[in-house]
Amino acid sequence: MRSKLVLAVTILATILLQSTLVPQIAIGSIKPNLIVIFCISMGLMRGRKAGLWTGFFTGLFMDFFYGSVFGVYALIYMYVGYLSGYACMVLYDDDIKVPLFLAGAGDLFYNVAVYVLLFLLRGRLGVSTYLFRIIIPEMFYTLLLTFPVYRIYYFINYRLMTMQRKESESVWVLK
């Protein structure tokens, strides 16, 4: 119960930060993506189901406010969280390299998905422009932000949430 409450508050806080504070630190109008870091952190530390729910609810909030098509962000973030959950219990979550890799991959996945679902389907074909103008800069900025932000989520997870890891959460671990 307490974990769920903390998770809900963290979701709200992340969304608020992403829509108010993050635009202030944008470099060349490129904003880093805090939400991807959040989803992969929860996926990595708490497993696939937690990643899935985190991604779904943060995405749903994004859809409420800024989405053009209801449900798209929820879908994308849900998969980001879920897929990063495969790393849970397999890779060490106290080593910064793991979330760095996941954040990079997650952000790439998110941006490619947004491009394909919301731009390519409208006939916008300038892949290279989008790639060099948005996708790659955002990925690097997100990676940079992962260093401090992951530690905060790590703290929240291990100090404020109760652990309820199960062996069955991981497909890789021998049963």
């Binding site: 635009p23 098509v69 879920y82 947004v114 916008r124 948005i134």
Partner: protein, 290 residues
């Protein structure tokens, strides 16, 4: 009694991949419903906004407070010098203003003579502040701190500084969501000032960096439209009131159909540093009704 409660309190245990499939289907249902019926999550949106908007407002206020403090740190000397130059400016402006008042009176007189409708140029406006921006990099929408309580409705046009910047797409009691005209999914029906030729102005993510918009379907068979031409919102637009300034033509070329023209427009507004905006509380549709 306890037994029954225990029976009722069953828990559904799903494997995570099954959960994923269920939630994916749910999301797809959302997407398809939005597309098929145009239903938006407005009731939910209002509920969620009640939680989030107050925070956003206070964060924005906090930002302004910090700004004020840093402003106060500014050197006194600078301010005095600035004041002197401003005083000189006031003198010259007063003189200029006197002349303009004369011109204005003349204009009013002439307009009365021509029985011109004055109302086009005097739309009622509400000033608002931007409290949050689209969190991603793909879209250009922002939220303002005024809503339906202040008379803002969906499809209200939004101005800043010298020209048009967007349109209200969603509105709640104390907030409204604005899609800017540089957004990739924005289309504005516009016209040239000198020749009154219509065209479509479209936001383009590939041009955002340069502060430009693209336009197409400009019918200009006599090649009268040149670089530097002023583009304003057209009289035939359904959503934008007439005569709002959009920008200057900066490049022009032929469309692929070889009949109409396309090109780019430079906007006079700095979209990256927007803070305060003006919302026109009259819709084009109201005027059509009159």
């Amino acid at each position: 009694m306890k037994k029954y409660l225990k029976k009722l309190n069953f828990k559904v245990r799903l494997k995570s991949k099954h959960l994923l499939v269920i939630m994916t289907l749910l999301c797809l249902t959302f997407i398809i419903t939005t597309f098929a019926s145009g239903v938006t999550g407005v009731p939910f949106q209002n509920g969620a906004a009640m939680m989030i908007v107050p925070f956003e407002k206070s964060i924005s206020k906090f930002g302004k407070w910090i700004e004020n403090i840093s402003d106060r740190m500014q050197e006194k000397k600078d301010l005095i010098a600035e004041r002197d130059s401003l005083l000189a400016q006031i003198d010259s402006l007063t003189e200029q203003n006197n002349r303009l008042i004369l011109d204005q009176e003349e204009l009013a007189r002439l307009q009365q003579m021509y029985k011109l409708d004055n109302e086009y140029y005097e739309y009622p406006k509400v000033a608002a502040r931007i409290i949050s921006k689209d969190p991603g990099n793909w879209y250009n929408t922002f939220m303002i701190n005024k809503g339906s309580d202040d008379g803002i409705r969906i499809d209200n046009n939004v101005l800043a500084g010298k020209g048009l910047i967007g349109i209200v797409t969603d509105v709640g009691p104390s907030w409204a969501l604005v899609r800017s005209i540089i957004d990739d999914s924005s289309n504005v029906s516009a016209m040239t000032v000198s020749t009154n030729d219509n065209c479509m102005v479209q936001g383009d993510l590939e041009l955002i960096n340069e502060g430009k918009l693209s336009f197409y379907q400009l019918y200009d068979i006599d090649n009268k439209v040149a670089i530097g031409e002023r583009i304003v919102t057209s009289s035939i637009s359904e959503k934008f009131v007439e005569g709002l300034f959009v920008g200057y033509v900066s490049e022009i070329g032929l469309d692929t159909n070889n009949l109409t023209k396309c090109g780019t427009i430079v906007t006079p507004v700095d979209f990256q540093h927007l803070r305060d905006v003006l919302v026109i509380t009259v819709n084009k549709q109201d005027q059509i009704g009159k």
